[in-house]
Amino acid sequence: MTHFRPIWMIALNFVREQRWPILVLQLSVLGLAGLGLLTDSRQDREDILLLFKQLGAYGVLFSVFFGGSALYNERRSRRILAVLGKAVTRRDYLSGLLLGVMLAAGLFCFVLGFTGTWVLGGIGFSVSYIWSLMVCVLAACLLASSVALFYSTHLNPWLSALFTGLTLGVPGAIAFQFGGWSGYILPVYSLMRVFIKASFEGPPATALSYVVVAVAEAVGLWLAASWVFGKIDVAVAVD
């Protein structure tokens, strides 16, 4: 437990440092709630579902942004030195950042799921389905941010975002083309496909296997990122 404490503190510190983008993200979800109040939700239910899906996709994009820039910002500001000057290993430090990104993503998914339950649940969408979709979005956020964090150990945020896009996009294109097992290679596309394809009419799709694979691959990426981060000079800014 004492070993976990620095990780938890770094994660909370990350959330505190990123409080404004996180707040903006939550406010965008409140827009969905506003729609539920202001529009005839039964008549415009497809539009509301579309907005719900859009917001979920934004969550994944924000996770890439958070994962790709967290380390860079800390190194550029040199704040990383005071933290790594303490009894904190580089792996713990990366774990803290990743946990921080997941706390932000988790909060977003919770607020989106809660708002979705209120707005979509009221117009006939299965509440349990909404929460299973939120698990898909959260798993996609975890995997996407792990890829971004991996690249951010040695690239600046722009290149990190570019390579994250390529790393997640290429398997997505393969999965789109060939389907089957190829959907399990970095399955952000597969997870988001389940989310995007959700409808009032169709039967709830199951994505548990994708979630399990995404978590396992995120752990692998976290280990790889820790290994790379353990080898580099952190006092030198990546530019």
Binding site: M9, N13, L81, A82, V83, G85, K86, A87, V88, D233
Partner: protein
């Protein structure tokens, strides 16, 4: 005395993109810092001081060679638990001073009542207890440096590594920090201090090392290093002041002048031959600034160009005095 910090033949190269350009920051750097001493680490900008400190803290890795801190290889988190570190141009999170120091203390394993007590003690030590609720974003540079010191000492470390800890402080705060460092030494702590403030280093350091262009050019006790082996101060009586070009008249019919050590014997004989009397001959005590300038190329070490001491016309057959060290 056991070494608490040890650099062993370290080379550190910084490589540019695609390894096209390499800058050697440290070149076969070897140094030992012993337990319980205040060690001054000097060198001009770009000499490699911060690189050496970052190596010890594990922020960068050596290209060759190795080192130990508190008996463990560089970069071990368990060793850093007993180390307090203050970076040059300290960068900290923007939050109230007490919360910030608590954060860093907790990262080093403190908790509960101990964390609260140590946080307040650290803030008190650096004179910021009355500002504990103020956000550090509103602090002046000097206050930031003091809060940086507080986070470095909050966990009562055995070894303090300080990179320019007093560069932004006013004389009063600098004095307080100096006293704090002396107090820590009296409690058996070791302090590795990188500083440009030579007078301060001269005042408190037990040993100093001078680094230039990545190479260690001198190590030793200030008293040993500041004693010049090349210049001698002679005080004589009973001869005219014009007898020696650099002589200055003093009270009691005395004159005082500097000569090169190699001319010592010739000078003494000359004073005697003029009917004078030697009052004293002593090695010239340099200031740390003189030494620093000599070692780092700010002032030439070539005896022929040495300061403005005019050379005496020493006959070629005059035996030279070799000073035993």
């Amino acid at each position: 005395m056991p070494a608490v910090l040890e650099f062993q033949d370290i080379i550190k190269d910084y490589r540019g993109l695609f390894r096209r350009r390499t800058v050697r920051a440290l070149d076969h750097f070897t140094l030992q810092v012993e337990e319980g001493e205040i060690f001054g680490f000097l060198g001009p900008n770009g000499a490699g001081k911060t690189t050496a400190i970052h190596l010890a803290m594990g922020f960068v890795r050596p290209s060759r060679g190795k080192g130990k801190m508190l008996g463990q290889r560089f970069g071990k988190a368990s060793a850093r638990r007993k180390v307090g570190f203050l970076a040059e141009n300290v960068a900290l999170y923007h939050r109230p001073a007490e919360t910030l120091v608590r954060f860093y203390g907790a990262l080093n394993g403190l908790s509960g009542e101990t964390l609260t007590r140590r946080t307040r003690e650290a803030l008190d030590t650096v004179g910021l207890l009355h500002e504990s609720n103020r956000n550090v974003a509103k602090f002046s540079r000097g206050m930031l440096q003091r809060i940086g010191l507080a986070q470095a000492i909050v966990h009562d470390p055995d070894l303090l590594i300080l990179d320019e800890p007093t560069s932004a402080l006013d004389p009063l705060a600098r004095y307080a920090v100096r006293e704090m460092l002396l107090d820590l030494r009296s409690r058996g702590k070791t302090i590795f201090l990188s500083s440009h403030l030579l007078s301060e280093v001269e005042l408190i350091c037990d040993r100093i090392a001078v680094l230039n262009r990545g190479r260690l050019v001198r190590t030793g006790r200030p008293s040993e290093l500041l004693e010049s082996s090349e210049e001698v101060e002679v005080t004589a009586r009973g001869i005219p002041v014009a007898s020696f070009p650099s002589a200055e008249a003093e009270a009691d019919n005395r004159i005082r002048f500097l000569i090169k050590a190699a001319e010592q014997r010739y000078t003494i004989e000359r004073v005697w031959s003029m009917g004078g009397e030697i009052v004293s001959v002593s090695p010239r005590k340099r200031s740390l600034e003189d030494l620093f300038l000599e070692l780092t190329g700010g002032r030439s070490q070539d005896p022929a160009k040495m300061r403005d001491i005019p050379s005496l016309d020493v006959p070629p057959d005059t035996p030279k005095i070799v000073k035993e060290s």
